[in-house]
Amino acid sequence: MLTDWQFIALFVVLSPIFPAMPVIINHLLGPKKPNPIKQQTYECGIETVGDSWVQFKVQYYIYALVFVIFDIEAVFLFPIAAAYDQLGLFAVGAAVLFIFLLGDGLAYAWGRGVLEWV
């Protein structure tokens, strides 16, 4: 019992060191020849157009909410699909019920007019 916990304690101590080491070693060993172009913020190679603090339309939050429906659907249906041949009729019923529950939520959102862009 206790030895199991020792591993976790060890893990807690060691786990921050591993990602930190490359950064620190890089900092210590790498040559440093700064110039203005090197100091710029790197952003996908393309210069930003305008201010990066733009306001996103608040309507996107509804899309994020509806997206959760499909997200959950995918997360739970993949395991069922992976073990489909061993599960039998019970799992089919459970999956259908699950999809029905999510569909109910989607239908509600649809009926409220959430899917229309205003």
Binding site: Q86, A91, L101
Partner: protein, 490 residues
């Protein structure tokens, strides 16, 4: 590994299925009902709840479980304990719908989502009483809470309603996470989340089991609003629409105690030496804080919020007594039944006086009610007496059984604390009566038929529980017996 289909008996969980299914149906029905028939929504909700109630009453005496994995214990149990609590939850739902109908219309909150969320929350409460597995307790807790977070913010864009929802959500999420940590530690120390198996293995769990128990106590104490975890209650109860406050103050609290009794009495009695003093301490603090702070509240919703904290303390006494006294659980069940009628009745009167949203909820608005609406004032006075615990009321019988159980369990000092704080509570409850009869005042009272019916029915039920508590207490005893047998059998 071969997949094993758990054994199912959907018939015995039919009440929960009806309530959930009805909620989902209402979700869609909204789009097919023409605008002028929207007023059907509350009555449709009521129909669903009554159907579930009939089903539930039919299950009285049934003792069994379902969702049983092969070689394991059932995740859902239906025994008299669960059935008794389900009746309480369904009655709470029905009475809440009755007091909501007119209130929502006159405050402009009449959106169909209200009833749908109410149904989902009731289904969560019902699962709290039936859950026999810590994972299911957690799921039920969330199903109960999440609709309540939305409902308490239902009066948006009124800022205090939004504030109420925000506070409730943040603290609710925080307490849920502590609760989950408790479940995780229970699993870590026993290797199972199933309550009967936890019962078998917890005595070997050592220190980890104690830490898990402490976290479960904190999680439940948050949900039932026991001191020192009660800070959210007054603000949330004050800001939420009054009907939602009424529903929360009974439903969410009883839901929390349902799971608490099941977990602590059915799974953790061996650790009783550790958790009974803790629960007794929390009860003492809750009684003192709730009753003393309620004295200075000028707003009746805040006063009833502190009063509901105090009543959580009385039920906590019964929880603390439940290990060493055979009547601890039944006293808690009876107390919750009496509290349901008394508190919902008092809130129905509060709603009658709240002529506009957030207006008419100060204690001064009750001045002269005795002359303006004598019957309503009489009912309110009776509810206040019941909350104080004066015979012949349901509140008195409830307190009597709770204190008797405490004395049987060698917790005499706790019973004394309960009696003293009851006397203190008389000050602020009876002040309402004093204001109603000894002053003159004017103010609008909006009492429609459904509200008057609710007040009448709850007053009658409180009276019956006060005059003839015997048969109802025997019922509660039948309900509690199952849990105690489980302890003995384990």
């Amino acid at each position: 590994m071969e997949f094993q289909v758990p054994s199912l008996n959907l018939l015995i969980v039919l009440p929960v299925l009806i309530v959930t299914g009805w909620g989902m149906l209402l979700m869609l029905a909204e789009f097919f009902i023409p605008e002028e028939k929207k007023s059907w929504a509350p009555w449709l909700t009521m129909l669903g709840l009554v159907l579930a109630l009939i089903q539930t009453i039919g299950l009285w005496g049934y003792n069994g479980g379902t969702f049983t994995p092969k070689g394991g214990a059932p995740m859902v149990v239906v025994d008299n304990f669960a059935t008794f609590l389900n009746i309480i939850f369904l009655l709470t739902g029905i009475l809440t719908v009755l007091i909501s109908i007119h209130y929502l219309r006159r405050t402009g909150l009449d959106r169909p989502e209200y009833y749908m969320l109410l149904l989902f929350s009731v289904s969560g409460m019902m699962l709290m009483g039936m859950a026999n597995d810590l994972i299911l307790v957690f799921l039920a807790l969330e199903l109960l809470s999440i609709p309540l977070y939305i409902l308490s913010g239902f009066a948006w864009p009124r800022p205090d309603s939004e504030e109420s929802a925000m506070k409730y959500f943040l603290l609710g999420a925080f307490s849920s996470s502590i609760f989950v940590f408790g479940i995780a530690l229970t699993y870590g120390s026993t290797g199972t989340t199933s309550l009967p198996l936890v019962l078998e293995r917890i005595s070997d769990a050592g220190m980890l089991g104690l830490v898990a128990t402490a976290m479960l106590i904190v999680g439940f104490a948050f949900k039932v609003a026991a001191a020192p975890f009660h800070m959210w209650t007054p603000d949330v109860y004050e800001g939420a629409p009054t009907t939602v406050t009424a529903f929360m103050s009974v439903g969410a609290k009883v839901g929390g105690f349902a799971a608490m009794l099941r977990v602590f009495v059915a799974a953790l009695p061996q650790l009783g030496e550790a958790w009974v003093p803790a629960v007794a301490g929390v009860a003492t603090l809750t009684l003192i804080v709730g009753n003393v702070v309620a004295i200075v509240q000028p707003n009746i919703k805040r006063m009833l919020a502190y009063s509901s904290i105090a009543h959580a303390g009385y039920i906590m006494i019964a929880v603390a007594a439940s290990v060493n006294s055979p009547d601890g659980v039944s006293a808690a069940l009876f107390y919750m039944l009496a509290y349901l009628f008394t508190n919902l009745g008092a809130f129905a009167v509060v709603i009658a006086l709240e002529h506009k949203q957030g207006e008419g909820v100060m204690l001064d608005d009750y001045k002269g009610l005795g002359k303006r609406r004598p019957w309503l004032a009489l009912a309110m006075a009776y509810f206040m007496l019941s909350l104080t615990g004066v015979p012949p009321t349901g509140g008195f019988s409830g307190k009597f059984y709770v204190f008797r159980a405490a004395i049987e369990a060698d917790l005499l000092w706790l019973a004394i604390v309960g009696v003293i704080t009851s006397v203190i509570s008389g000050y602020y409850y009876l002040r309402v009566v004093y204001l109603m009869y000894m002053y003159d005042g004017e103010g609008e009272v909006v009492a429609n038929r459904a509200l008057v019916w609710t007040v009448g029915l709850t007053a009658l039920a409180t009276l019956v529980l006060g005059l003839l508590p015997g048969p109802w207490f025997d019922m509660a005893r039948d309900a509690a017996l199952q849990t105690v047998q489980m302890v003995a059998g384990g």
